[in-house]
């Protein structure tokens, strides 16, 4: 059993939707039938401090946290949090950051997390239907449209 594990770390500041984004990724992977683990620490971090959350899926996953230097993808919602989390990314890992998103295409800055997931999705083998269903399951209905728009915008990044 050596099928490859995909390691994703999502980071930003409290209140930006880091945990929501990691919930959506984990849900998408889970609904695609993959073994998945997700780690987060909340509590103090809710008060505007640094927040990060790890999602690992595929193959046999033990630790819920991504070991240092082993993240395939680092998704960062706040530019100044890149250096804080850079050590987790593996050498040829992919950094996905806000500068990749055309903000004029977002209805609200609060959708940045989902837009970055759009950018992430282009690197993963999960289907668009899977992503869209996961986004809908994790957000209230009134936010579906603007977030699906953000997802599409992110895919174009």
């Amino acid at each position: 059993m050596v099928s490859k594990v995909t390691n994703i770390v999502i980071a930003g500041l409290g209140g930006q939707g880091v945990l929501k984004a990691s919930d959506i990724v984990a849900d998408a992977a889970f609904s695609a039938g993959l073994a998945v683990k997700k780690a987060e620490v909340h509590g103090m971090s809710q008060r505007g401090g640094s927040v990060s959350s790890d999602v690992r899926f595929g193959g046999q996953v033990f630790s819920p946290m991504v070991p240092e230097g082993e993240a395939d993808f680092l998704v960062v919602l706040e530019p100044d949090q890149v250096p804080v989390n850079a050590a987790v990314l593996k050498k040829d890992g992919v950094l996905i950051e806000p500068s990749m998103i055309d903000k004029s295409q977002l209805s609200s800055e609060k959708c940045l997390n989902v837009a970055l997931l759009g950018a992430l999705s282009t690197h993963l083998s999960l289907s668009d239907e899977t992503w869209i269903a996961a986004i809908k399951r994790n957000l209230p209905e009134k936010l579906h449209e603007i977030n699906l728009q953000a997802f599409v915008a992110g895919k174009g990044a």
Partner: protein, 533 residues
């Protein structure tokens, strides 16, 4: 029961198991990372309530158990200190219906004031302890804990850690059902439940006998697991450390302990004998190392430097390699801060401006110690602000004593500030004292839980309300003030200065709703209004 697989946090998995096992009542006090257990239990349809503190929660749980029903009591590790008094004696009297106590440890102190290891309590009180390593085990072990509790009539401690509580992993429910709960019914059993010395002496012997039986059972049938691997490296582990060890050393032989007290010593001995190098990988204290060595089993433990902070795959690799070189310091992230618009800001601005000596407490307002305020001079445990402030008042030279104030949040005041206030009224310092209750109308730090001062239960339904100003006045305290420092900062500063000048005791209630909770609270109050109309 239908089998379903879902992606759950460890906290959610415990709640699901409690529901599936027919737990009659879940009670506890909010504390990261344990809080979501009772919230989820309530959401799933279980009966859950917040107690004023963990001691009361455990006492309620004991009552449920004595009545023959199943109870779940939840808290964070430091809460177990508060509940320790009933714990040590219910270990003697034992349980009737299942009594499972979850203690969520926080190695690395993501949101706690210390790194204590709850396993010490299991050994010290003489109660069995289970340690899940992921959400599936959180579910399965909770069912086992209920069986163990009812089979031996003992309370069971259930140790989780931050990463088990808050990580989400797959959980298959409904595979191994437990026998249904009995009907609650009072059966008199005075020698078992009335711990006067005459009855407690045999009860202590009985408890030790049961522990010996459970140790034997743990050897044969306990929730422990051996993973065959290389004979050159053997790892004994438990809890989340198991996951790190498997990933760090996939080739190693592993003995994973699910029930760490009383430990399966012979199983550990055989395992250690079967490998060339046997090392214990555990978060927190060297608990299993000491259990093994006491039994004469030669095991290696982690180097002392790894006792601090939580383990992870990288650190376990270093431990296995015997690497004691200094670890790379992580790039510091942005520390948390009081929210913009937080009502505590006005209070801490004044405390800083007046250069007061501030005995602080546990909650969001602990962040008053951070820049730009740095207006907190002590933080010990829930409720300690009052006692610590009084002690300083009693002994500091007068010009310093008059600058001492105690600052406590609303939920913390209910938790363990009430007795501190009695002390303040009873052993009043010569210079008097000032207590500021920061009443933001919610248990904000742990995620907006209700408490007796909000007048709403865990499910936000209306109930009796503890009114702090009435409590203070009922304690014969004459200077009781209610003010909103955000709205009237000058008035607050004047009031505080005046209170510090007089050699009397004053209670100032700084009342303004947490801005994160305000909208939701208005909604609860609107619903209350409709119900009472």
């Amino acid at each position: 029961m239908e089998c379903v697989t879902s992606l759950l946090s460890g906290d959610e998995a415990v709640a699901a198991a409690a529901l599936d096992a027919g737990v009659s009542l879940g009670t506890g006090y909010p504390g990261t990372p344990s809080t979501e257990i009772l919230e989820t239990f309530e959401r799933l349809g279980g009966r859950a309530q917040w107690a004023p503190n963990e001691k009361v929660a455990l006492e309620v749980g004991i009552g449920v158990s004595f009545a023959g029903a199943r109870s779940l009591v939840t808290m964070k590790h430091v809460g177990l200190n508060v509940a320790a008094d009933p714990l040590f004696t219910v270990a003697y009297s034992g349980a009737n219906g299942a009594l499972v106590i979850v203690s969520a440890d926080d190695p690395g102190m993501a949101s706690s004031q210390n790194e204590q290891d709850s396993r010490r309590y299991a050994a010290s009180a003489g109660v069995p302890m289970l340690e899940p390593s992921d959400s599936q085990e959180a579910y399965d072990f909770m069912l086992r804990a209920i069986e163990i509790s009812e089979r031996w009539h003992v309370p069971v401690l259930f140790r989780m850690t931050t990463r088990v509580c808050h990580s989400k992993t797959l959980v298959r429910q409904g595979v191994t059902p437990v026998p249904p709960p009995r009907e609650a019914n009072f059966v008199r059993d005075i020698p078992t439940r009335v711990m006067i010395p005459a009855y407690a002496r045999p009860a202590h012997r009985n408890m030790r006998n049961k522990l010996a039986q459970m140790a034997e059972w743990n050897e044969q049938e306990g929730p422990n697991q051996t993973i065959a691997g290389s004979p050159s490296l053997g790892i004994i582990t438990s809890g989340i450390s198991y996951q790190f060890a498997r990933e760090a050393a996939p080739e190693a032989s592993v003995l994973k302990l699910g029930m760490t007290y009383p430990p399966p010593v012979e199983t550990m001995r055989q395992f250690a004998k079967s490998v060339e190098r046997c090392i214990v990988i555990e978060d927190g204290d060297p608990f299993l190392v000491e259990q093994a060595r006491t039994a004469g089993i030669a095991v290696e433990g982690k180097a002392e430097m790894y006792r601090f902070g939580e383990l992870n795959v990288g650190r376990v690799r270093r431990i296995l390699a015997g690497d004691c070189t200094p670890e790379a310091k992580p790039v510091p992230g942005k520390p948390p801060a009081l929210c913009v618009g937080c009502p505590h800001r006005a209070v801490f601005t004044t405390l800083k401006n007046l250069d007061l000596i501030v005995a602080g407490d546990i909650g969001c307002y602990s962040l008053g110690v951070m820049p730009p305020f740095q207006a907190m001079d002590s933080l010990v445990c829930m409720g300690a602000s009052i006692g610590v402030g009084l002690g300083m008042r009693h002994t500091l030279p007068p010009e310093q004593a008059r600058r001492v104030v105690s600052v406590i949040g609303d939920s913390t005041f209910v938790h363990s500030g009430l007795t501190g206030l009695v002390e303040m009224m009873y052993n009043t310092p010569e210079s008097g004292h000032v207590l500021i209750i920061l009443d933001n109308g919610t248990t904000a730090m742990t995620g907006m839980q209700e408490h007796p001062g909000t007048g709403r239960r865990l499910d936000h339904s209306h109930t009796g309300k503890l009114v702090f100003e009435d409590v203070a006045r009922a304690m014969a305290i004459r200077n009781v003030h209610v003010i909103d420092p955000t709205k009237d900062p000058k008035g607050f500063e004047d009031l505080l200065k005046k209170s510090l000048e007089i050699p009397e005791i004053s209670v100032i209630i700084a009342r303004r709703t947490c801005m994160l909770a305000a909208r939701q609270i208005r909604e609860y109050e609107r619903c209350d209004g409709q119900q009472s109309n």
